[in-house]
């Protein structure tokens, strides 16, 4: 997402900052990979269906090729101790990145008790009870929308 912003807003000037934020919000609100949704919406605005397909193809094809090459490498050499160590360490770093991203996203919400409560219950459901995300979203989304509507009145 930081790289997408750099390209769309700063390098190409396709959208201004506010329009980009709106697009990101919508892409996060809808199910599916955020950056995929973002490219579909941006492509659609420029050139309808063909624009959306072009944006999707442009976004996916090169990275898909690279990641499959890495995957093939992993399948062949993943058992070598050095590579095994390497992948394991990168996995540990990736976990740290995700935790940091969650903290960053949580910061603006920290003074909203209701949001903290909802986030906490969601975390417990997924991390401790290990409930499927579908169950969590179907249960928590209506509850959260209801509570937030009441709260803000």
């Amino acid at each position: 997402m930081p790289w997408a912003r750099l390209m769309i807003v700063e390098e190409r000037g396709w959208l201004d900052e506010a329009a980009f934020v709106n697009l990101v919000s919508l892409s996060q609100l809808l199910p599916g990979p955020n950056i995929v949704n973002l490219s579909v919406m941006l492509g659609r605005r420029f050139a309808g269906i063909s624009g959306a397909l072009a944006a999707l193809g442009g976004l996916m094809i090169a990275p898909l090729t690279i990641v499959l090459c890495l995957g093939a490498l992993y399948q062949r050499f993943g058992q070598l101790p050095q590579l095994n160590h390497m992948f394991g360490n990168v996995a540990a770093a990736a976990a740290g990145l995700i935790l940091a991203t969650a903290v960053k996203m949580a910061r603006p919400q920290i003074n909203r008790p209701l949001s903290v409560l909802i986030a906490g219950v969601t975390f417990a459901g997924a991390a401790v009870l290990r409930l499927p995300v579908l169950v969590i979203v179907l249960a928590m989304a209506p509850i959260s929308i209801l509570l937030h509507t009441r709260w803000s009145k």
Binding site: P33, V36, N37, A62, N89, A92, A93, A102, A127, S144
Partner: protein, 174 residues
């Protein structure tokens, strides 16, 4: 490969596609449950490695599904998994964004966004937690997770550098 894994891949990921509110990482715990516990396609450790690969490689991190598909059924599996994961949500997104652009001024939009944000954050936190449980099997790895988290929070360093350092440490046998 038998056709059964392909069909199973397509169904699992098409369903996840439509519930992945907040992005692909929100359903990583689900992917883990399906791939490791339910279907027994791979070990916990392997799954954590795939996640790391998808995050370290350039491009969208949804590509973890391509790796899972590739592991189970080769290139065809990768394509099926990727299309199943991106197709349904993209169709929905395409339709909704058309409607959305027509009702730009509606007030309920802000309310819904505000209500869904903490759910997204909770899911992402759970993803990080479950992955660190799976990946941090040694003391140095616990240190790597903590160091990465702190560095990303307190500096503007590109995370790819941190991944690079972790990788080099691994090649060096740590």
């Amino acid at each position: 490969m038998k056709p059964v894994p392909l069909a199973s891949l397509a169904v699992h990921f098409a369903l996840l596609s439509l519930v992945a509110i907040g992005g692909a990482n929100a359903v990583v715990p689900d992917m883990q449950r399906i791939a490791v516990v339910q279907e027994g396609w791979m070990s916990d450790h392997e799954f954590a490695d795939f996640f790391a690969l998808a995050n370290a490689a350039p491009g969208p991190n949804v590509l973890i599904v391509s790796l899972i598909g590739y592991k189970i059924a080769g290139i065809g599996g990768a394509l099926v998994a990727t299309i199943a994961m991106c197709g349904p949500s993209s169709l929905l997104c395409f339709t909704v964004s058309g409607v959305w652009d027509r009702f730009q001024a509606a007030g309920w939009r802000e309310q819904i966004q505000r209500a869904l944000a903490p759910i997204t954050i909770g899911l992402l936190g759970a993803t990080g937690y479950l992955l660190s449980i799976a990946a941090d099997d040694t003391a140095p790895r616990i240190a790597i997770t903590i160091a990465t988290c702190v560095a990303v929070l307190s500096t503007r360093i590109n995370p790819l550098w941190l991944f690079g350092v972790a990788a080099i440490l691994g090649l060096g046998g740590i």
